[in-house]
């Protein structure tokens, strides 16, 4: 437990505290009055209001669209289901930058809808909401669907036999059982959309700004640290509250539900109603998820001289890419892979140790630590990135010039995923299997190696994949600390999008496609490994 605690203290708490301190402290004293000053500004008020309502609406929309999907994936058997489940998960591990770019290609200037009907929806709130639904569809399908598939259908049948109608049975039996899972998923979605950065940054235009985007603007563009610090604290408080609620619902979800093997509950759809539902869900998936990704790929190939790999070729050299970079943009691929691999190793070690510690012990303190581990998911990545810059620049920890800074920041985001995935599996290892091994003569270490390790190996692989994908797509912190001659893929995409011209735009699409393919491939590999429990994601 010491290693994860130290890791979080040095690379999370310290930088964040330093940034906040720098913003709120002047001349050796704290200026809490700045809270009032900042929060009473009308522009900040607007940001707060927008952040909250767009998160609420995004969450509601996601639930509305994804719950039928959760049902279909949980209960119906249809060809291509495995593949489709992997496909809907792709957006979740996609870097937000790619999501933003994909929707820009669909809805933006010169986008597909613009060409066909002259409709443009970028810089509108609809683009943001849609992108959020796209991004979080898998969260609901996985969290709720995973439980739904294991609910014993005979419970509902028992209610039907007792005289409840089809809807009444669902409403009184299934929904209460699903309730905590739905609440947990909704809170996760709310958390992700509340702290949304890359998507709003790309699609929002100047009119729309979430807290996170505003923190970035105040820090990087206006250099107004006091305001940024106040906003960071506000976001911190909100995220803390959401996480506390989430922890509470998850704990409730662990209460006794009679679960069965998912294989027993699936069947082919029957009757017109069920087929309509299935087709509806498949249609939604195609429109909502495949279309934006497809358009992204199409745009990346649609060069000045017709379809071809022009933009991809342009990525190979500094001159051809238009001089946006000091190095050929394609090098960002190797940078990203190297960083993400390192970050994955760090996240696995830290997260694995934390999960092991959480399994062995119980109590209030440990539960608090559990919730603390989730904080990096919600605390302003921008703050973390900037905090790295100002705190890790002096001995004994002078890492500013070191490449390890980027993987460290990325690992911070990966750790919560590792913990969430490992924890249920570690907890599920029956202590008596270890006892059985001990009685047969295995020492405690040997018993761990013989019993725990083989069962956990799969979870480790899955966790590694998630940490890898998340690290690959990390944007908020990386954008601060990645050196200009060592950009990562998301940073390079954002920089290309920030420049005018078809060449830059096309290259951004091409690079996003590359990033998407890397993420999707790692995810598809995971989907093969992961056959059973869905953990909490």
């Amino acid at each position: 437990m010491a290693v994860p605690v130290a890791f979080f203290a040095i690379f999370f708490a310290y930088p964040v505290a330093a940034i906040v301190g720098r913003g709120l402290k002047a001349g050796g004293s704290w200026h809490w009055g700045r809270f009032g000053d900042v929060l009473s500004r009308p522009d900040i008020g607007q940001v707060l209001w927008f952040t909250t309502w767009q998160a609420a609406v995004s969450t509601a929309l996601t639930l509305l669209i994804a719950l039928p999907g959760a049902y279909v994936f949980a209960r119906f058997e249809f060809p291509g289901k495995q593949l489709l489940r992997a496909v809907v998960t792709v957006p979740f591990v996609l870097p937000t930058v790619v999501v933003g770019t994909a929707f820009l290609a669909l809805l933006g200037r010169g986008g597909l809808l613009d060409e066909l009907w002259g409709v443009r929806a970028d810089t509108t709130v609809w683009a943001i909401l849609l992108a959020h639904v796209f991004f979080n569809y898998a969260v609901v399908v996985r969290t709720v669907g995973g439980l739904w598939a294991q609910l014993d259908p005979r419970q509902e049948e028992a209610a039907r036999v007792l005289g409840a109608g089809r809807f009444a049975a669902w409403w009184r039996v299934t929904l209460p059982a699903l309730g905590p899972a739905v609440a947990a998923a909704a809170l996760m979605v709310f958390l992700f959309t509340f702290t949304s950065f890359g998507i709003v940054q790309i699609l929002g235009g100047p009119a729309y700004s979430t807290l996170e985007v505003e923190i970035y603007r105040q820090t990087a563009q206006l250099l107004d640290l006091p305001t940024a610090a106040v906003l960071t604290m506000v976001q911190f408080g909100a995220v803390g509250a959401i996480l506390a609620l989430h922890a509470w619902t998850v704990r409730r979800r662990e209460t006794a539900l009679k679960l069965v093997d998912p294989a027993q509950t699936v069947r082919r759809p029957r009757g017109a109603g069920q087929w309509t539902l299935l087709v509806g869900v498949l249609g939604t998936v195609v429109l909502l998820i495949l279309l934006p990704l497809g358009v992204l790929i199409e745009r990346s190939l649609d060069g000045p001289a017709g379809y071809g790999f022009d933009y991809y070729r342009a990525l190979r050299s500094v001159e051809a890419s238009g001089g946006t970079f000091l190095v050929p943009p394609l090098e960002a691929v190797w940078n990203s892979l190297r960083y993400a691999l390192t970050a994955t190793v760090i996240a696995l070690v830290v997260g694995g140790l934390a999960a092991a510690a959480l399994t062995r012990r119980a109590g209030r303190l440990v539960r608090g630590f559990d919730a603390l581990l989730m904080l990096p998911l919600g605390v302003s990545a921008v703050t973390v990135g900037f905090g790295f810059l100002i705190t890790l620049d002096e001995p004994p920890l002078d890492l500013r010039a070191s490449w390890i800074l980027v993987p460290l920041a990325q690992a911070l985001v990966g750790v919560p995923f590792v913990v969430r995935i490992m924890l249920p599996v570690l907890r599920a290892v029956d202590g008596r299997l270890r006892e059985a091994a001990a009685v047969l003569g295995a020492s405690p270490l040997r018993a761990w190696r013989e019993v725990d390790l083989p069962m956990v190996r799969r979870a480790v692989l899955v966790a590694a994949g998630f940490a890898f994908a998340v690290s690959l797509g990390e944007f908020g912190a990386t954008v601060f600390i990645a050196r200009p001659d060592r950009p990562t893929l998301p940073v390079a995409v954002a920089r290309l999008l920030g420049r005018p011209g078809d060449l830059n735009y096309g290259q951004a699409m091409a690079l996003s496609t590359v990033l998407m393919v890397v993420c999707a491939v790692s995810l598809l590999v995971l989907e093969r490994i992961r056959t059973d429990r869905s953990g909490e994601f």
């Binding site: 006892e435 059985a436 091994a437 009685v439 047969l440 003569g441 295995a442 040997r446 018993a447 013989e450």
Partner: protein, 355 residues
Amino acid sequence: MALLTLEDVTVRFGRRAALDAVDLRIAEHEIVCVLGPSGSGKSTLLRVVAGLQPPDSGRVLLEDADQAGIPVHRRGVGLMFQDHQLFPQRDVGGNVAFGLRIRGESRGEQRRRVTELLDLVGLPGAERRAVAALSGGEQQRVALARALAPRPRLLMLDEPLGQLDRSLRERLVVELRGVFAQLGTTVLAVTHDQGEAFALADRVVVMRDGRVAQTGTPVEVWQRPASAFVARFLGFDNVVPATVRGDVADTPWGKVPVPADSPQGPRTLLVRPAGVRLGAPEDGLRCTVGARTFRGSHVAVLLRPTDGPEVEAECALRDVPDEGATVGISFAAEDVVVLAETEEAAAPTGGNGAD
């Protein structure tokens, strides 16, 4: 020399004592069955011997060596868990060979022994089968083979046949006894099923609330339960307070003959159903015939006397009276047992090991 000795072993969970000053000795090659209702401390007993649960006080000795401070994996005992706890990621052969592998036996020796044991438990050639694909009875056999493979000096079984259906259980219990006799294994088993215990064991230990209520051979325990608790646990319901004077006892059913040399004074009386004779209404205690339960070779008949508690009688099939009929009953002295006077006085009689 006793193979296993428990001296005054106590285990407390909070304020409740799961084991309360238990003494027990098991001789080599002996098969001992601990019998008791759930919550009587049976499983805790096994866990203490295996070293999975440290005793709060008292000593556990294996071959006269105190086991305090010796970890589970060095005790050289085998334990078959209630729900088998087969390793799901290993096949049948891998499970059975586990203990041998840990002890560093050669691969050839492992293979030979696995084959031998799978033959013994009636699953020849099952080495490559997946554990998940086994039926309950097969898992049972694999768990047994796994526990036997390292030749433990003491094999412990926790509800060995608990989850199996009745016919399979009856067959397996006979097979188990055969296997143990063949190998000369010393066995300590716990179960809540008296049939299982009596069929398997050389000696039965009845437990109640963490204490030993009675120990003896199956026949002894069956014929002379030490207390009303043991009698009721064995399924006898004809248990009433009584005052014994000479060869007769005063009971709520009137005078009941007791065997000669029975302890005198206020006591508890057990009348086995077989000792209840049915006759004409005017002979003996008048009763109305209540529920009748068919038990294969005989019928258990519940009788309601005009006065006093209900009586269970055992009838041959052809003599069964109709429900609602009136009969008169009398009691046969040889099926009447005078128990200890009160529950508390039925002090634990454990500790008299086999000789």
